[in-house]
């Protein structure tokens, strides 16, 4: 090691930074800069064609919080729509995923085939999933309505165009589409529960409900927390399902806040207003994503140990 000269040593000290450089450049351009730039846009009246942009301060944020403006009306209406979707879809995606994972917990003939089938829809593009469920729930000719008509106690419903019922294809479709993901998380966690716990409980005479209540459920709580947080983040970003299945209708009742932001930007060309809404909505989401971040860091700590 004596042949290492000081000059080479100096070059070596630079080595780690050279590895970091390519990513750092892209990171600054596409992650750091856009946050600042987005904020800047939201504080100006942005006009793509103009050379100079007019500074307007918090005007676009004020509009979001001033009753009577269209921005106030539609932003909060679509925000409530989104919250409704989150409140219904997240518990469903947790409970159904847990149910499927529990059904597959003990060995059974064809277990891997079943697991593959339940997971299969998650790999489809949101547009394919949307077109599929729109077709299945089509007012007159959809399979769901044909089946409903065949039942003695039910009748066909114009799902896609009825306020309230329009959520059904979106929510059913979403559960079908993404439940496999949480199921995989639960299956992995169920595998990690030591069998001895169940054997001990059996010796103590605990029935299957009590085994679930006192062993399975508590042992799964980290996964449940993780699945709940990631599913919540995913559900808040509702876009494609509503866009394709109902186009936000009827009367904007299934329009999500993401859809409204893109409408404000790309249909109304109000980029500043849309940026202000992005930051308002993003700040709200930050509460959830920060939580997810903490869960990930906990994982990181374990990895380092």
């Amino acid at each position: 090691m004596t042949r290492r000269r000081p000059s080479r040593f100096g070059a070596r000290a630079l080595t780690p930074y050279l590895y970091l450089l390519p990513h750092a450049i892209l990171f600054l351009i596409f992650i750091v800069y856009p946050v600042g730039f987005g904020l800047y846009v939201s504080l100006h009246r942005w006009n793509i064609l103009a050379d100079e942009q007019v500074f307007v301060g918090l005007q676009f944020y004020q509009r979001i919080f001033t009753p009577g403006t269209p921005q106030f009306q539609f932003f909060w209406k679509t925000m409530l729509n989104t919250l409704l979707f989150v409140a219904v879809s997240v518990p469903l995606l947790i409970v159904c995923a847990l149910g499927l994972a529990l059904l597959l917990q003990k060995p059974i003939f064809g277990r891997n085939v079943f697991r593959t089938i339940f997971f299969l829809p998650t790999i489809l593009a949101v547009s394919v999933m949307g077109i599929l469920w729109k077709w299945l729930f089509e007012n007159r000719t959809g399979l769901v309505n044909i089946l409903l008509e065949a039942l003695p106690f039910a009748k066909a419903l114009p799902f896609l165009t009825t306020v309230g019922w329009a959520w059904v294809p979106i929510i059913v479709g979403t559960v079908w589409w993404t439940v496999g993901f949480n199921m995989i998380l639960y299956s992995a966690a169920l595998n990690n529960i030591p069998k001895s716990y169940y054997e001990a409980a059996e010796l103590d005479g605990a029935g299957s409900w009590n085994q679930f209540r006192f062993i399975t459920w508590p042992m799964l709580s980290p996964v449940t927390l993780f699945a709940a947080v990631t599913t919540t983040i995913g559900s808040f970003q509702l876009f494609g399902q509503s866009q394709v299945i109902t186009a936000g209708g009827p009367l904007r009742t299934t329009q999500s806040v993401m859809m409204y932001i893109t409408e404000e930007a790309f249909t109304n060309f109000q980029f500043s207003s849309a940026a202000a809404m992005s930051f308002t909505f993003g700040l709200l989401l930050l509460i959830v994503t920060a939580f997810q971040f903490r869960l990930m860091i906990r994982d990181l700590g374990r990895g380092n140990a």
Binding site: H23, F30, F119, T141, N192, L203, T230, G282
Partner: protein, 293 residues
């Protein structure tokens, strides 16, 4: 204790017990079968509809199996002057492929010094880039779009590839795998005069092939299935396949035979890929979550 007493049973009794146990599993098995049918039904219905002539798609009673199977829908949408399925498929394949390749290489190269070298500012930089994972994606939509206009990247592959490349999830993941590689090999190679670049590709890379493949697959899927961003930055023949089938669908609002043919074209390649590589798919999916250790 239970196992000991069971082992002492006569084999006939054990066989009966096993048969009994299998019978008790029958309701669970039937329930699983029912659920499997429900899960597969939409995909089956898509394929079934796509092979029917238009008039049969709405025929009553329902045709579960196409009575007059035809490729007409597929032929027509391929022949339609506005539908460029080959081009759209290529756009998706190319951008997802490049995106996945670039992100995996960048993740490895960036994670390497963060996990394996000591230098001032290492932890600060790691935490700085890692904390960007907290920023909700919606924040980037408007600034990225305005940047694409300024770069003249609207309707180009660049717009579909680059903005997502510096995401740090892959770096985070690769760093975790780097940390699990034993140090001894690296030290031996260094004594033999290998430089850090050689150590990375000769010593570390063989350990990283599986996670790299999984990350590549995962990023490919994420790019392929991306919807919001390509919907607004690329148009016409530059569209990606999953986005194109929805804009194309507005032209065929009511002809579900063609719609389903389009949906099938957009999903069958990925379904087949999934059936061949499902282990990696499933692992890739759970990588986004927590590693069960």
């Amino acid at each position: 204790m239970a196992t000991v007493s069971r082992a002492q049973e006569p084999s006939a009794a054990r066989g009966r017990r096993r048969l009994n146990a299998q019978f008790r599993e029958l309701p669970r098995f039937l329930l699983l079968c029912l659920l499997a049918v429900i899960f597969l039904a939409p995909i089956y219905w898509m394929l079934s509809t796509s092979f029917k002539p238009e008039s049969d798609t709405v025929a009553r009673p329902v045709q579960w199996i196409p009575a007059r199977p035809t490729l007409q829908n597929y032929q027509e949408i391929f022949a339609s002057p506005n539908a460029r399925f080959v081009r759209w498929t290529w756009n998706s394949l190319f951008t997802a492929g490049v995106f996945s390749l670039v992100t995996v290489l960048l993740s490895v190269v960036t994670a390497y010094p963060l996990a394996r070298m000591r230098f001032p500012g290492r932890n600060a930089w790691f935490w700085f880039i890692l904390s960007s994972m907290m920023i909700p994606g919606v924040i980037f939509l408007i600034p990225h779009y305005l940047m694409m206009i300024r770069f003249n990247w609207i309707d180009t592959y660049h717009a579909l590839i680059w903005p997502g490349v510096p995401g740090v999830f892959g770096i985070f993941l690769m760093r975790q795998f780097f940390l699990s590689i034993p140090r001894e090999l690296e030290e031996a190679a260094r004594l033999d005069g290998a430089n850090s670049w050689q150590i990375l590709w000769r010593i570390h890379a063989p350990f990283l092939i599986a996670p790299m493949a999984t990350l590549a697959l995962f990023n490919f899927m994420a790019s392929w299935n991306n919807y919001v961003w390509p919907l607004f930055v690329v148009h016409g023949e530059m569209q990606t396949l999953p986005v194109a089938i929805t804009s194309f669908s507005s032209r065929y609002w009511t002809s579900y035979g063609k719609l389903m043919a389009g949906a099938a074209i957009a999903s069958v390649p990925i379904l087949i890929a999934f059936l061949f590589a499902q282990r990696y798919f499933i692992r890739g999916m759970s990588l986004t979550g927590l590693k069960d250790d």
